[in-house]
Symmetry: C2
Amino acid sequence: MFKKFKIPDATIGRLSLYSRYLKEADEKGINTVSSQHIARATGVTPAQVRKDLAYFGEFGTRGVGYNSRELYNYIMKILGLGRRWPVAIVGAGNLGKALSQYKGFYERGFDITCIFDTDPNKIGKKLAGIEICPLDSLKEKAKAFNIELGIIAVPAAAAQDVADKLIEAGIRGIINFAPVNINTGENVMLRRVDLAAQLEYLTYYLEDTR
Amino acid sequence: MFKKFKIPDATIGRLSLYSRYLKEADEKGINTVSSQHIARATGVTPAQVRKDLAYFGEFGTRGVGYNSRELYNYIMKILGLGRRWPVAIVGAGNLGKALSQYKGFYERGFDITCIFDTDPNKIGKKLAGIEICPLDSLKEKAKAFNIELGIIAVPAAAAQDVADKLIEAGIRGIINFAPVNINTGENVMLRRVDLAAQLEYLTYYLEDTR
DNA sequence: TAGATTGTTAATCGATTAACAATC
DNA sequence: TAGATTGTTAATCGATTAACAATC
């Protein structure tokens, strides 16, 4: 599984940023851009841009550059964004609520389709127009809506259990917002996002450097 | 500025995770842990754990291991978390709202002290008990509350402008949630967090690998 | 002392950058 | 053709891992 040849993790993140710039350029009527244009707009080197693209093919014209719209479409396809993806969020607390309402997901092709929780006080209520469902119904809903992506937005102590249930329900990609390492098997893609740790990168450097 | 010697970026993120495990271990009454324990709990190799710690000093006892509470305290100090940090959020939309209520920040020593927006309909209202203030009052409030950290939670188009205002107000560390590259000077630490891109790491791998 | 685990060095691995031939 | 920019290779840089001496 995951047979795509090995490319640097960071390349994916940069492709995402390139694509956003290309969309903007296209909308502004800029048809052709060079690796240098992309690089300046996204804060990387031109060599990096070309190298990132080279993993996937030849998209430009020597001496000329890249067609903005075409390259945008290529990158979206590479990222798997040639279609929309239904997503399940587990945890209807502050973070789950926030993520379910976040427009940035929708804009990139992600539809928050289901929200799950175990708290009887929350079940049945709605978030961003989506009903909060009992965690027990996860498998059933995942099948019904063809959900392959899950977001874990529960406390650290519950994260592994939720992950197990997501996998059991057939989810193949998980983002874990709980500040704890969780285990998924070989066949499930996992990423951890630690919001507090992001601030800690800053405080590490700011501590006594005044 | 930022004179601390160069360590891998990823080391900081791992230290954060180690510290959470150590806190838990200490609370469970586990006084001594080895690099192998830490490694297993956090999903890295024991060599990685020891190397990460070695950047900052010698915290263990050969043949024995590390004292959980002591190492926890050391790491918190290293990360700059020996004190609490006031934080400003700019943007009172869904994401800003979410982040202002997110308990994970408080638990790691961050206090969301001010929220700013330009929308007159939002100004004056409260989020998580904190009044939404006009962006114009940023400098004044930052001074009053000694705020050095800022979170950008506005649309991409407004992000650079907000960054400029944060810097002008004396903020020294910025997290940018807008999906766009922004420029800060030499003296400001910057990190970008792209929530949608996190899902794109998954879709890249899941695309047609069924 | 024997067993265990750290701290550190050297080897390996992987990602970024510089340089340049290919080619529009 | 001259100028520009890509795609790609080789060189550099940096991070991870393996191995082991130090030492409890």
